[in-house]
């Protein structure tokens, strides 16, 4: 299935892009996506737990199964205000 990954703030800087189109196995979770990012980006290796996770613009548990066409975003610590 195809999932759209959005990257913001420090994650955009580390990964070097604002978004990505992911081709995932059925049943994949946000946590799986995070682990694959960690495998490719040494700056993320210390972060075994994924940051807050949003699916389709709402917060979701990282173990939620993704579905075709979902928009996934990792939300590093927010600092609005």
């Amino acid at each position: 299935m195809k999932v759209r990954l959005l990257l913001f703030a420090v994650l955009r800087d580390i990964i070097g892009r604002a978004e990505d189109e992911l081709a995932l196995d059925d049943g994949a979770t946000a946590r799986d996506v995070w682990q694959s990012l960690r495998a490719r980006h040494p700056e993320l290796r210390g972060y075994a737990e994924p940051p807050m996770t949003a699916i389709n613009e709402s917060y979701a548990a990282p173990d939620t199964r993704l579905r075709e066409g979902d928009e996934l975003a990792f939300i590093p610590p927010v600092a609005g205000g």
């Binding site: 913001f8 737990e49 940051p51 949003a54 613009e57 939300i75 590093p76 927010v78 600092a79 609005g80």
Partner: protein
């Protein structure tokens, strides 16, 4: 966008948006870029956001608080992009017939925004730049 802007904030316009003739008070909170943070000098800040989600989160928080304080009317605007010391990053207005609710609602609004709205800031100073909150807190 209702809650986010790329332009300087005009707090007066927010006040006029919410005040009703039955309101006896309003409390305005403005967050301003200051020249220091955790002991380091700050020259400017870049605010980034997951815009559509941030708008939704703001809306949720506004509705929650207006439900908790039914007499209060709220307006909120958060600025994004590059801001300098002294620039306002956020303005919140809570108007109410009575002051206690206006203070409480305004305070709760800024506290909740800081907890969950997907907005980030990168601080720039003489020592370089850094995304606030990232180091070791992911």
């Amino acid at each position: 966008m209702r809650y986010l802007t790329d332009d300087p904030i005009d707090p007066r316009a927010l006040v006029e948006r919410v005040m009703r003739k039955s309101d006896g008070a309003y409390v305005l909170f403005e967050g301003v870029v200051r020249n220091h943070h955790e002991g380091k000098a700050v020259e400017s800040i870049f605010y980034d956001a997951y815009r559509p989600m941030a708008e939704k989160e703001m809306e949720t928080i506004v509705r929650d608080i207006e439900q908790q304080y039914p007499d209060v009317a709220l307006a909120v605007l958060h600025r994004l992009g590059h801001l300098l010391v002294g620039d306002s990053s956020i303005a919140i207005v809570a108007a109410s017939p009575h002051r206690a609710e206006a203070f409480a609602a305004c305070r709760l609004m800024i506290d909740r925004i800081k907890q969950t709205v997907p907005i980030w800031k990168k601080e720039r100073g003489p020592d370089g730049e850094e995304w606030v909150g990232w180091q070791g807190q992911c």
